[in-house]
């Protein structure tokens, strides 16, 4: 129970980047009924086309928003980390236009749509905080589109590593600028829309340039934040 509380605090901390919440609003979030499911790497949490009746809050691990195409390809549209409401927009969609997949083992709290709607009706400031969260998702997606269209793979890789550092730090999860993505090169390749071979080359190039240290395959430490931001052309304003 204590562990879950910390995670709700992460969500609260994130939402409070937008606007402080009252004690009553925080309590309402903390006591909202939910059930917790555990997933292994590559488990499908929600399939494309599903009509979920719950919202997924990531407690632990990394979740990918995934689009499966008719030609068999998979595009990862975004990464959801602890404290993220991964599919808040499912409240408004008739069916999911993409799925959610565990990219590392993940713990997910599922909150019924009805509960979320009730929270939004009772506490307008929570409704605004949720709307802000969805706007933030949109900003991240726009930045990813810009990367895919107009950044080099080197800039794109540096950009995502900067973005993850800022997002993980905002919820207290990148101590000493270190974090472990627990993902494969294939996952990054599907997120960047490039080959795994090229992803591997870009990670090695960032390492050779002294910007990152790679411990295991995707456990990394950012050695030179300024340098990594410059390499990416990273402006963190879209995350605020």
């Amino acid at each position: 129970v204590k562990k879950e509380a910390t995670v709700i605090e992460r969500l609260i901390r994130k939402l409070e980047h937008h606007e402080p919440l009252s004690d009553e609003e925080k309590r309402a979030l903390e006591t909202a009924p939910s059930r917790v499911d555990n997933y292994k790497r590559h488990d499908v949490i929600i399939a494309q086309g599903d009509r979920p009746s719950e919202v997924c809050l990531v407690l632990e691990g990394v979740v990918g928003r995934t689009k499966i195409l008719a030609n068999g390809g998979r595009q990862i549209l975004g990464f959801e980390i602890a404290g993220d409401l991964a599919d808040l927009h499912s409240l408004f969609l008739k069916g999911m236009d993409h799925g959610l997949e565990a990219l590392a083992s993940a713990r997910i709290a599922k909150v019924p749509h009805k509960t979320v709607r009730n929270l939004m009706e009772r506490y307008p400031r929570l409704a605004l905080a949720f709307a802000w969260d969805m706007a933030l998702d949109g900003a991240i997606q726009r930045e990813w589109m810009a990367s895919m269209g107009r950044r080099s793979a080197y800039e794109q890789t540096a950009h995502v590593l900067c973005e993850l550092l800022v997002r993980l730090r905002a919820v207290g999860l990148a101590p000493d600028n270190q974090y472990d993505l627990h993902m494969t090169q294939d996952d990054l390749a599907d997120a960047f829309g490039i080959s795994a071979v090229h992803v591997n080359r870009m990670l090695q190039a960032l390492r050779r340039d002294g910007l990152i240290e790679l411990k295991a395959s995707l456990a990394l430490k950012i050695l030179d934040i300024r340098g990594l931001k410059d390499a990416a052309g990273f402006e963190p304003a879209y995350l605020q």
Partner: protein
């Protein structure tokens, strides 16, 4: 799962791949090398003095394929 390495030669500079990538088989490794070479060309903004991009594919120490991509810009003299 077989593990393949993709050593590159770019502008005459050799870059050994210390990590490699797990791929289903040699056919997939060749396809990936072709794709990667095209991506490298896109990223490098190759100009008039473009040199070849070469990827040497190996499975551990065994040579699997060489993929070479040339891009030439020609102008009327």
């Amino acid at each position: 799962v077989p593990h393949f390495y993709f050593d590159a030669v770019l502008q005459g500079q050799a870059e050994t791949d210390p990590v490699g990538v797990e791929l289903a088989d040699r056919a997939v490794a060749r396809q990936e090398a072709v794709r990667a070479a095209a991506e490298m060309a896109k990223d490098r903004h190759l100009g008039e003095n473009a040199q070849d991009i070469t990827l040497e594919v190996r499975e551990e120490d065994e040579h699997v394929a060489t993929v070479r991509l040339s891009l030439r810009v020609e102008e009327p003299s």
